[in-house]
């Protein structure tokens, strides 16, 4: 292994700027003459807009413009869209309601933007925002997905009767029914997968700018996928043509999915910049982010799993209602369908699966992909059923899993996915050993002596990452292809710039991508620069989400490097006056096989650009190659997490006392970075299980609207993690990578809840398992025991 090559824990190249305060996030950028935008938002969850009075706001000092939905319409600015078409089981297309960037006739959730104030300072804009008077006709509202389809529920969009966006299904209903009917045991669970707010610590921000000289627009934006933003804003919203719009995603302070989507605010900043002929900046406040960022999860599910007398799973039937909020966000439709039901086989050989999903509108913030997106929900269903099944059948939960593991690959599940490689036994075994599960009962007794309840919980998860094969997602309704691009530009001095369509917002691509390039070309890692996040620099790309950057983006880089090597060999052969086929490239030198003749990388790169020794037409000067890589299958990271909790039954407080994570991510480029991704994912999963959960009150007002009421995990809420790996290489891409970004968030919730239910001896606990909830569950369980 090279000291900085694949497998080396290279310290991150990008860190220097962050630890010295020299990072450059969107709000750190100040454009000459920039002014500020503040949005006027609806205080009501559901209301008709009778009139908007802006005259008083316009006259305040510093105010340059007060713009409303009527102005958007007058300028023929299009609606925001959801880019993944889902068809209902009756064949009808999903009911996508119009989503204007500024609501003109009706507001559908608290926080729905109605108008924008553009002023010299944000204080002036805020003052003016308070002077905008809106005459509302308040309507009844609904936020609970389980209530949204009921007769008499408030109708949010005319296009969607019963607030139903689609009624979709996957799998074989008859086979699943038959399997359950003949099963020896059927385990059933009602599950609410709690709604979460992603809460990247950097709030969203945007600066729109218009150059009247060139007619060119620029947008600096906190986005995970600048090219997709440019495509949607030009092709659908129509603010600017694609070739006249530059989108820059500078340093971005965390995304977790929430910065994938195309939001009203960035569209409005861009549009308003032309109207006021000044750069327009908007920076989201945290309280505003709670309202305006796309949330995650929010499923209501009833699931049944059948087992035969030997503990083998016979079938699985799942019915889910998914809350998509007030409008369909960019990729929202795909999350509770193809990112969810397709993973319901888990790590198990399940003969029959059927899943029906209704997506509904409610008067709540839009819901879209959040770290894991669909896969945490699927894993939670499967792994809770397995744990409860083990308890009902009286089989050790690890043994029950072993009995059902898929053993042969490739494995076709009944729900589309074809698992290419894995070794689920290996990760379970390693996890059990590392967690010292054999001594658990001893630890449980020790806890009991201190008046504490101890529990252990397993989660053997699987996910589909490397999103995604374009042909596959196209057939499933995606509006875009999900390949990735790369361009390798070699400079005359031998240093290299790699342009990628992926975008890093914490993942460390500037290091991992450089590791691969430096090793391949035999050059120092410091001579490699990764360029990303600017549509003027990178031709096109799909961005970063779905644990796709290494599996898809880096594969594109490898493909481009193949071309670079081929071209460089041509040049070397020319310089060495040898046959191209005889050139061997290793450790940064081109040699003629079987001779001592060689030429260094730097000499080849220089000659590529001076071209003095090239003769006429046979060799083109320069050394730059591009590649588009489109995978043929998803990748399937999998693993086993084990959580141990200790509960104070008097207060209900749960402490996680041990965490073991064994993951199979295929080839690992940088184990330090991969472990960091695992840590962060687990923390978000623990957050979902113990702390986080959106609450709307009876008037559809957001109760958890700030960190005062929404519990974001702090350092002392979380344990240290024992992280380990097993490796089966992914056969589908050149480096064998599966992806690691979401695993922790997918595995953790079920592991935690399995541990808590083990500790309290009751399955009756919902997420988040707050102290109050656990206390109540313990009390109820105790009462039940007394009564019995």
């Amino acid at each position: 292994m090279n000291a900085t090559g694949i497998g080396a824990a290279v310290r991150r190249k990008e860190d220097y700027r962050f630890i010295t305060g020299k990072g450059c996030y969107t709000d750190d950028i100040s454009r000459p003459g920039e002014v500020r935008a503040i949005f006027v938002r609806s205080p009501h969850a559901h209301a008709r807009i009778r009139a908007i009075e802006t005259a008083a706001a316009r006259t305040l000092p510093g105010v340059l413009a007060v713009l409303t939905g009527a102005d958007l319409a007058a300028d023929k600015i299009g609606n925001l869209i959801c880019g993944w078409m889902i068809h209902s089981k009756d064949g009808s297309p999903m009911k996508m309601a119009p989503h204007p960037a500024l609501a003109a006739t009706k507001v559908c959730f608290v926080g729905d933007p109605i108008a924008v104030i553009v002023a010299e300072t944000s204080a002036q804009a805020r003052d003016a925002a308070e002077k905008v008077k809106v005459d509302y006709d308040i309507l009844a509202a609904v936020t609970d997905p389980a209530a949204a389809q009921a007769k008499g529920a408030a109708l949010i969009h005319e296009i969607a009767p019963n607030n139903t966006i689609y009624q979709w299904h996957l799998g074989d209903a008859k086979a699943a029914d038959a399997a359950l009917a003949t099963a020896r045991h059927v385990v059933a669970l009602d599950i609410r997968n709690n709604r979460l707010v992603p809460n990247a610590i950097e709030p969203r921000a945007a600066i729109g700018e218009y150059d009247s000289g060139s007619g060119k627009y620029s947008l600096w934006n906190t986005t995970q996928n600048p090219h997709v933003a440019r495509l949607v804003i030009s092709a659908f919203v129509g603010v600017a043509p694609e070739h006249k719009l530059r989108v820059v995603a500078p340093d971005v302070g965390g995304g977790f999915g929430s910065k994938i989507f195309i939001y009203p605010e960035e569209v409005v900043c861009l549009w308003a910049a032309r109207k006021v002929d000044r750069p327009v900046k908007w920076v989201c406040d945290r309280s505003e982010a709670f309202l305006a960022d796309a949330h995650g999860r929010d499923h209501v599910t009833h699931a049944q799993m059948g087992f035969d007398g030997d503990g083998r799973i016979t079938g699985l039937r799942v019915r889910t209602i998914a809350n998509l909020g007030a409008y369909m966000s960019t990729f929202s439709s795909s999350v509770p369908t193809y990112l969810y039901a397709t993973l319901l086989a888990g790590q198990y050989d399940i003969p029959a699966i059927y899943c029906a999903v209704d997506a509904v509108y409610t008067n709540s913030g839009p819901v879209d992909a959040y770290r894991g997106a669909g896969r945490p929900e699927a894993t939670f269903v499967v792994e809770r059923l397995m744990e409860v099944g083990a308890r009902v059948l009286g089989i050790d939960p690890a043994d029950l899993r072993k009995r059902n593991f898929i053993r042969k690959f490739p494995h076709q599940t009944p729900v589309i996915m074809n698992y290419d490689a894995g070794d689920y036994h290996a990760s379970l075994k390693k996890a059990l050993d590392m967690a010292q599960s054999r001594d658990f009962n001893k630890r449980k007794r020790e806890s009991a002596r201190n008046g504490k309840l101890r529990g252990i919980g397993y989660c053997a998860y699987i996910e589909a990452c490397g999103i995604a094969p374009s042909q596959a997602v196209g057939s499933l309704g995606a509006g875009v292809g999900l390949w990735e691009s790369a361009e390798v530009r070699v400079n005359p001095t031998g240093s290299v710039e790699v342009l990628t369509g992926c975008h890093q917002h914490g993942q460390g691509h500037e290091t991992t991508f450089a590791q691969v390039v430096a090793e391949r070309l035999g050059i120092p890692i410091d001579n490699v620069a990764i360029v990303h996040g600017d549509t003027d620099a990178v031709q096109f790309g799909m961005g970063t989400y779905g644990s796709r950057s290494a599996a898809v983006g880096l594969s594109a880089v490898v493909k481009a490097l193949d071309k670079i090597e081929a071209k460089a060999k041509k040049i070397a052969a020319h310089l060495l006056e040898a046959a191209e086929a005889d050139i061997v490239f290793a450790d940064g030198r081109f040699s003629v096989s079987g001779t001592d003749k060689s030429v260094a990388w730097g000499e080849v790169t220089l000659q590529a650009y001076v071209a003095h020794k090239f003769s006429g037409q046979e060799l083109e000067p320069g050394l730059k190659e591009g590649a588009f890589y489109d995978p043929t299958n998803f990748t399937f990271p999998a693993g086993c997490h084990i959580c141990e909790v200790e509960i104070d039954p008097e207060t209900g407080a749960t402490r996680i006392v041990a965490w073991t994570a064994i993951d199979d991510f295929g080839t690992v480029i940088n184990p330090m970075i991969v472990e960091g991704q695992v840590h962060g994912g687990i923390a978000q999963g623990i957050g979902q299980a113990l702390l986080e959960g959106v609450v709307y009150d009876d008037n559809a007002q957001l109760v958890t609207g700030s960190f005062m009421d929404y519990s974001l995990p702090r350092a002392d809420d979380l344990p240290s993690y024992n992280v380990g790996m097993t490796v089966t290489k992914c056969p589908g891409n050149p480096l064998g990578i599966k992806g690691c970004g979401e695993a922790g968030a997918i595995a953790a919730p079920a592991a935690v809840i399995n541990a808590i239910t083990d500790a309290i001896g009751s399955e009756d606990i919902a997420m988040p398992a707050t102290p109050q909830a656990v206390w109540a569950a313990v009390r109820k369980a105790n009462m039940g025991r007394k009564a019995a």
Partner: protein, 166 residues
């Protein structure tokens, strides 16, 4: 408000600003020291932590007017020189104590303050408790805790500690 003077990273600066200007706004917008970040509006996230007269404070919850005459140290002034990092900065890099980098300046300023108050031998529990006012969404804190423990030791080993008050 009359123009106010204070010292930021060793340099005297004058603030002639609206009274409602928070210290963080003054640092970011007037001095263009954008390493100090804003991540919430309820004084909880700690992305804005700087040192005022040698103590960590949340620069989003203090008016620049309150800091008149004070010594302010920000992340940009922490390294002893342009070529040398502060040991706590180095520890964060060495231990992968950051991912997106947004909470990092506040974490590092809090960590240095922690060492200044409590000492160089910091156990896991103490560090986690002391981080009550700093939120990170990327790292799960594991490597931040590791970084701070290592940074604290490195500071004892003679790494330059510069406090604005000194």
């Amino acid at each position: 408000m009359p123009a106010a003077t204070l010292t930021v990273n060793g340099k005297a600066v004058t603030a002639d600003v609206d009274p409602r200007t928070l210290l963080v706004q003054f640092l970011r917008e007037n001095l263009r020291l954008t390493g100090t970040h804003v991540g919430c509006d309820t004084s909880q996230c700690g992305a804005c932590v700087v040192h005022v007269n040698g103590r960590a404070v949340k620069s989003c919850s203090i008016l620049v007017a309150q800091a008149v005459g004070a010594n302010v140290l920000t992340i940009e002034g922490l390294a002893p020189s342009a070529t040398q990092l502060h040991p706590m900065q180095e520890a964060f890099r060495e231990n992968h104590g950051l991912q997106c980098g947004y909470c990092t300046p506040g974490m590092i300023m809090t960590a240095v303050d922690m060492v200044n108050r409590i000492g160089h031998d910091l156990d896991d529990k103490t560090i986690r408790h002391e981080l009550e006012g700093n939120l990170c969404r990327c790292t799960g804190y594991h490597n931040i805790v590791k970084s701070i423990a290592a940074g604290a030791k490195a500071m004892a080993a003679g790494g330059g500690v510069r406090r604005a008050a000194e």
